[in-house]
């Protein structure tokens, strides 16, 4: 009963909690400071905080380009972000301002938002590689490994099973040895222990 009560709570809509979209946004970019995880997995610092603010502003239902530009200005006027160990900004504030002016618009998809940060910080800022070019390899390899594994085992089992089936059948029944039979039975039982 406790369980059911507990599960019922899951169905509640939690007003103040972050939305699925916000959580998703925090998981698609790495924390730029140290690579210690995605923005969601990393302790909040000023760099991760600024990036989150930009992302939330970009996906806000009421898109305010001026606010977005100000947030970019605030984040990338901080010299610290150009000296980070893991993913420092590689574009100057002027370049970023120009890029934002020309490319940032309302209704950007998650991929487009990530592309903005990848342009500024490099591909290393993406929490997982893009599904294109060499990046495809990382995504398809697990499937290839699994298929090869299943294929190899299937071949092994089929080969052994076939080989056994092909054994000639003796016309006469083998001699019945009760002692041997008892021993076999005992060993089969032991196998299941």
């Amino acid at each position: 009963m406790k369980w059911l009560t507990g599960l019922l709570f899951l169905a509640l809509i939690f007003g103040q909690f972050k939305s699925e979209k916000e959580l998703k946004l925090e998981s698609i970019l790495m924390a730029p400071c140290c690579g210690g995880g995605t923005l969601a997995e990393h302790e909040e610092n000023r760099y991760s905080h600024d990036m989150k603010q930009i992302m939330f502003a970009l996906t806000d239902s009421v898109f305010d380009k001026q606010k977005v530009k100000e947030l970019f200005d605030e984040a990338y006027s901080d010299r610290g972000i150009y000296q980070l160990h893991f993913a420092p900004a590689t574009k100057s504030l002027k370049e970023i301002q120009k890029y934002v002016d020309e490319n940032v618009h309302a209704g950007m998809t998650l991929d487009e938002i990530v592309d903005v940060f990848a342009w500024i910080h490099g591909e290393v800022i993406r929490s997982s590689p893009k599904h294109e070019g060499f990046g495809n390899l990382v995504w398809y390899m697990p499937l290839i490994i699994l298929l090869v594994g299943v294929g190899v085992i299937t071949l092994i089992v089929r080969r052994f099973v076939k080989r056994q089936k092909a054994q000639p059948v003796t016309a006469q029944a083998p001699d019945f040895d009760p002692e041997l039979s008892a021993k076999i039975e005992k060993e089969i039982k032991e196998l299941d222990l």
């Binding site: 507990g6 140290c34 995880g37 990393h42 490099g122 591909e123 290393v124 590689p129 594994g149």
Partner: protein
């Protein structure tokens, strides 16, 4: 004085190990028993020297002898005594010494246990272990010496221990991880000895069976403890982030788990002999590879040691292990061929094969994802990241497939399983699974496919395990007439390996329940002033008080840090629930490095998890991260069940009564 002694002992142990290896090798060439005894004693002495040397370093850490560079770098006068122990494995030099110390303890145990046994295998076991010991001793002596002195009076106080390591879990997690890693050296050494001598029957497997299980248990618990540490210390709300160093510990666990399953086939059917050799070789190599990953700087990780020249040496050591093993496998391939054959696709042997394939596929996938950034940079010149979203996406389906096999495997009969038997064994658990999944889906309104499959498989496997216990107990009760409880314990006693394994599986199932709960996790960021009440889900959080504690105000409990603290009164569904203090610490001996102390109220169903991001002492404004995490306790509970099952399998009673590992 102790430092000089420690350093001398470390040097002596290097020399003694070289002699031991040479002497044992001479014995294998000329058969003169004196050489073997001499080699054995030399390696025993070397091992004792290493242990003494480690004790020496520990004493210097406890005494805060800052004339040693290592002590000055990883502790301070203010570091609490308990955490001075952690200093032993906090840095590269100490951790290498700690590694070789554990190996030395294991070597002493192996020599003692086998003093009158396995006369043909032991010289090569000794040589293999000696070579591993020598490698780490060389690192400790010539590259990363923990006894490097600095002039007296130059450093008045040390730099202190990394705040993240100042957590009780960190007193247990690293030693367990080392035990788990290094323990695989023993079955590996016996496997090598078997291949070199041609003693390829099941003796080496049986001799190391308990070693392997104990090692596996240590590694399993260590990995989960690492998760627990991340959960309560890092403050992001989760316990596994697929960090390269976390992955490094998972890799040998995956192949090690495959190995403890597949050796059962070799023990019972004398099959998979090459495969078992490959598995133990790969598992051991992965333990060294994990050490290489954390020390070479090839991957970026918050857990990794700084990049040093050691990486090159580890790389060549791995190459040496692989080349030697491959040559031996090629030479012995005919003798290692299986005597018995598989008879059917649907039999326990095939089930084990699929289980092994899945474990290895998972290992290769994790390895691939971990190493891909290096490969990508080498090929395309672009630095990329493969983070947790990738691993979650590719590993969840594999994990679910493995969970399915966890249930199915034990019910398959040896040789072949008939369709009738399959139907008889699986129908009821499957129906139970479907009913529970239906209830779960309806109540939680869950529409995502993976959580539903996960619940279906969790219920299915749990039902299978409970039915197995029920049927076994009932059969025993009918056979002996004893009570049900007695019959249950007799069942465990008579079939330790099988039923211990089921209990371990039950622990894994409970962990999967914990993993599944993650889809319901919720998070909120709050900015609060004293007196504010904010509602988060069904919790009302009242910010009642805040204050500062410093080493001056609280010298006993806060000797090396100051702490900003807020008190939060929590009500749940309108009634008082608990009071939590959330802390933000600033370590004075680490340039005021901040660290959050998670405040946690955990129940079986959900955890209320609060992290203090910042606190302005003037205005009292606090930034809080509040998470409601679901079913996490099942991960930790599952660990206890896993330990219990492993102890049943190991016949811990027998071990206590004096049976050897």
């Amino acid at each position: 004085m102790i430092a000089i002694l420690g350093n001398t002992l470390l040097l002596m142990s290097f020399a003694f190990t070289v002699y031991g290896i040479l002497s044992a090798t001479l014995y294998t060439a000329n058969g003169n028993r004196k050489f073997m005894l001499s080699g054995e004693r030399a390696i025993l002495s070397s091992s004792v020297f290493v242990i003494l040397s480690t004790i020496g370093l520990l004493i210097e850490l406890l005494r805060s002898n800052f004339t040693l560079e290592y002590v000055a770098r990883y502790s301070s006068a203010e570091t609490p005594t308990l955490y001075k122990f952690s200093g032993l494995w906090a840095g590269m030099q100490g951790s290498l010494l700690f590694w070789v110390m554990i190996l030395s303890v294991f070597i002493i145990m192996v020599i003692y246990q086998n003093r009158n046994r396995h006369q043909k295998l032991m010289p090569w076991v000794l040589i293999t272990l000696g070579v591993i010991q020598l490698f780490f001793l060389a690192m400790s002596n010539f590259f990363e010496n923990p006894f490097t002195p600095i002039p007296a009076g130059m450093v008045m106080n040390g730099m202190g221990l990394n705040p993240l390591l100042q957590n009780p879990v960190m007193l247990i997690h690293p030693p367990l991880l080392y035990l788990g890693f290094i323990g695989f050296s023993i079955p590996f050494a016996f496997g090598m000895a078997a291949m070199i001598t041609g003693e390829l029957d099941t003796v080496w497997i049986r001799t190391t069976r308990r070693w392997t299980l104990v090692t596996w248990l240590f590694l399993s618990v260590a990995i989960i403890m690492g998760g627990r540490w991340a959960y309560v210390e890092l403050g992001w709300g989760g316990y596994w982030a697929w960090d390269p160093v976390e992955n490094a510990s998972l890799l040998p666990w995956l192949t090690g788990t495959a190995y403890i399953h597949s050796v059962l086939i070799q023990e019972k059917k004398n099959m998979l002999r090459i495969w078992n050799m490959v598995l133990i070789m790969v598992t051991f190599t992965l333990t060294i590879f994990g050490t290489y990953l954390t020390r070479s700087g090839v991957v970026s990780s918050v857990h990794a040691f700084a990049a040093t020249d050691l990486g090159v040496w580890f790389f060549w050591f791995i190459v040496l292990i692989l080349v030697t093993n491959i040559i031996l496998l090629v030479i012995r391939r005919k003798e290692l061929a299986s005597v018995n054959r598989l008879e059917s696709f649907v039999g326990r042997e095939s089930g084990f094969l699929f289980n092994n394939m899945l474990f290895v596929a998972m290992m290769l996938t994790v390895l691939w994802g971990t190493m891909y950034p290096i490969l990508s940079e080498a090929v395309t010149g672009t630095k990329i990241t493969v983070g947790s979203p990738y691993f979650n996406r590719v590993m969840i389906p594999l994990g679910l497939l493995l969970l399915f096999l966890t249930g199915v495997g034990p019910l398959l009969a040896w040789r072949r399983t008939t369709t009738r038997s399959l139907r008889r064994n699986f129908t009821l658990p499957f129906i139970v699974g479907l009913i529970l999944t239906g209830i779960f889906g309806a109540v939680s309104k869950m529409t995502l496919i993976y959580p539903l499959i996960s619940v279906l498989l969790i219920s299915f496997v749990a039902a299978i395990i409970f039915l197995e216990f029920f049927k076994g107990t009932k059969a025993r009760h009918r056979m002996t007439g004893a009570g049900y409880l007695k019959s249950f314990f007799e069942l465990l006693e008579k079939n330790r390996s099988r039923y211990g394994g089921y209990i371990v599986h039950l622990g894994i199932v409970m962990m999967f329940l914990g993993f599944t709960g993650k889809v319901f996790d919720k998070e909120a960021d709050l900015s609060m002033n004293q007196g504010d009440i904010k509602t988060v889900g069904h919790y009302d959080i009242e910010y009642t008080d805040y204050w500062l504690e410093t080493p001056e105000t609280n010298p006993d409990t806060r000797s090396n840090h100051a702490a900003k603290i807020v008190t939060l009164k929590i009500s749940k569904n309108g009634s008082y629930y608990t009071t939590l203090n959330a802390e933000r610490r600033f370590y004075t001996d680490q340039n005021n490095q901040p660290s959050s102390e998670v405040s946690l109220k955990a129940t079986l169903f959900e955890d209320l998890y609060i992290v203090l991001g910042s606190l302005d002492l003037h205005s009292g404004n606090a930034i809080l991260k509040v998470r409601v995490n679901h079913l996490v306790s099942w991960v930790w509970l599952g660990t206890f069940v896993l330990i219990l099952g492993s102890l049943v399998s190991l016949n811990i009673g027998g071990l206590i009564k004096g049976k050897s590992l």
